[in-house]
């Protein structure tokens, strides 16, 4: 299940946020601390997660301390489901 979530998140980030469909984002690649996605895109990602998985990420949780990789984010979503 975690793999499915990371794949879906990677696809969303590559296609909708980075607008680079061919971009491969590995599950352990830092996405926030590396500056790959900025704070505005992070909110977009949070809204996508809310719509897709019904999991709300609080405004105070949208930072690299809560999750920084797709693996961590997928685990976060799983734990909240």
């Amino acid at each position: 299940m975690t793999t499915e979530i990371t794949s879906a998140l990677a696809k969303q980030i590559a296609e909708k946020i980075l607008k680079q469909p061919k971009r491969v984002i590995s599950p352990d690649e830092p996405i926030i601390s590396s500056g790959l996605i900025d704070s505005f895109s992070l909110m977009d990602l949070a809204l996508f997660i809310e719509d897709t998985y019904g999991v709300r990420i609080e405004d105070t949780e949208l930072n690299a301390n809560t999750f920084d990789t797709l693996d961590q984010l997928a685990n976060f979503i799983q734990a909240r489901k």
Partner: protein, 467 residues
């Protein structure tokens, strides 16, 4: 702060570390003492005592509103109340001890302290009985913000003191001195706990834990702004220090001292300032002085952070990092992920994210949302440093910079469908670091010079005009 004061901080941290029992109470007592001890001179001498007293009263009253029922029991808080009252009383009793070498302040007469304590305890009983704190939390939230704005607005401070002098019928001095030590950080910790309580995310905190969190002495003067839910578990179960942890804590502490008192203080002698800009007629030298100012600011502030992190580590608490090589970041977004991290995270959590979320669910275009949210967030971060045009201009400079960078990245991503080769990435990153450092350095002119006009004049001179 002086080296001597920081040295005393270190001794206090080591002493608390050696305690087998009652560490939390000892930390509380020491933090309260330092809160009083560090208060600078004030326009009215009595304020040196009453300002920290008011800080404590504010924290206690707010705790009564946000404490979970299981954390409010008398039997788990009476020791805290006793220690707090005892420390304040001992400080007041210094008027009889006369230990001016330790605490030099004219403390109020005993009956005045007794009356103030009675007033606070009466207010405590009132707040203790409040079942629905919603209204009062709103009052505290706005009240703390108003105090913050007042303290950060020199005009308001001056005018209010002038009014007091006028009412007294005495001559006012030419310069008003009024500071509330650490309130910039204390206020943001208090506001964070109010907001988290309102959203049901605040953990149950005893009075001792709450006061320790808000006035934790290593972070009292210059942060970082930790979060209560992260801080308190380590306060309850301090992280044990192995030999290498002692070495690491000591290393951070001494590196911090070196950065602050050797590097930053030396760079201060050759850093750009208002007088230098008028006197220097070479743009090359001006650039050099500007770079020195950028480095000085970093070493000064990050030095304090290192000291705080080292001291906290001795106390078994791992504070969040506040800096992560900010001047080596290839763009402005990454710079703000690496400069004063805990402050920017605070503003993201409590302003930028909710604001963006609310606009995103409406039908605004994305560039407009980014423009509004980036600009307003950075303007507020600017105003946090002081309600003045130069800080607003500094915030706007960065807000616009972030917006332009965002649009540029968006455009570039459309052009580059795959990540660049390592060689091209190195070139892009090097160029990005150069541009970002220079953009940030130019921004410091708005930060350090008294008016936006003087900063603009300096920028013109830097580029070889008006020399």
């Amino acid at each position: 702060m002086t080296i001597l004061q920081l040295g005393i901080f270190a001794l206090a941290a080591i002493a608390i570390n050696r305690l087998k029992r009652n560490r939390e109470l000892a930390l509380l007592a020491i933090s309260i003492f330092f809160l009083f001890w560090l208060q600078p001179a004030q326009q009215f001498v009595s304020l040196v005592f009453w300002i920290p007293f008011a800080t404590l009263a504010l924290i206690v009253l707010l705790w009564l509103l946000i404490a979970a029922p299981e954390a409010r029991a008398w039997k788990i808080n009476w020791q805290t109340i006793l220690v707090m009252s005892a420390v304040v009383l001992l400080i007041d009793l210094n008027q009889f001890f006369g230990l001016d070498q330790i605490y030099m302040c004219t403390t109020p007469r005993l009956w005045m302290l007794g009356a103030a304590l009675a007033l606070v305890f009466t207010a405590d009983i009132f707040f203790w009985r409040i079942q629905q704190p919603k209204l009062w939390l709103g009052v505290f939230f706005i009240g703390i913000l108003l105090i913050f704005i007042y303290l950060k607005t020199p005009y308001l401070v001056t005018e209010s003191f002038m009014l007091i002098y006028a009412l007294r019928g005495t001559d006012a001095p030419t310069k008003i001195i009024f500071t509330w030590l650490g309130f910039s950080y204390i206020a943001f910790r208090l506001l964070h706990t109010i907001r988290d309580f309102q959203t049901g995310r605040l953990p149950a905190l005893t009075l001792g834990e709450y006061v320790n969190y808000v006035i934790f002495f290593p972070t009292l003067v210059a942060g970082p702004i930790d979060r209560a839910e992260r801080f308190v578990p380590e306060l309850r179960n301090p992280v044990a220090l192995a030999e290498q942890d002692w070495a690491e804590a000591g290393r951070r502490f001494f590196i911090g001292l070196f950065k602050k008192f050797v590097i930053a203080d030396s760079l201060a002698l050759i850093s750009v300032n208002e007088i230098l800009i008028k006197q220097v007629h070479s743009s090359a030298w001006l650039w050099l002085f500007l770079y020195m100012y950028s480095l000085r600011l970093y070493f000064d502030f990050s030095g304090y952070t290192d000291v705080a992190i080292g001291l906290a580590r001795i106390l078994g608490i791992r504070l969040p990092e506040n800096f992560s090589a900010p001047y080596l970041k290839p763009n402005l977004t990454q710079f703000w992920n690496a400069w004063h991290i805990t402050l920017t995270q605070w503003f993201r959590a409590y302003f930028f994210n909710p604001f963006t979320r609310s606009l995103r669910t409406k039908n605004f275009s994305i560039p407009i949302i980014i423009f509004i949210t980036q600009l307003s967030t950075m303007a507020l971060i600017g105003l946090w440093h002081g309600v003045a045009w130069n800080f607003l201009a500094w915030g706007a400079w960065h807000g616009l910079g972030l917006f332009i960078q965002n649009r540029w990245s968006e455009w570039m991503r459309g052009k580059m469908q795959t990540p660049p080769s390592p060689r091209r990435k190195l070139i892009f990153d090097s160029l990005g670091i150069f541009l970002t450092f220079n953009f940030v350095s130019l921004g410091w002119l708005f930060f350090t010079l008294p008016t936006p006009q003087s900063a603009l004049t300096a920028i013109v001179k830097l580029f070889g005009f008006g020399l």
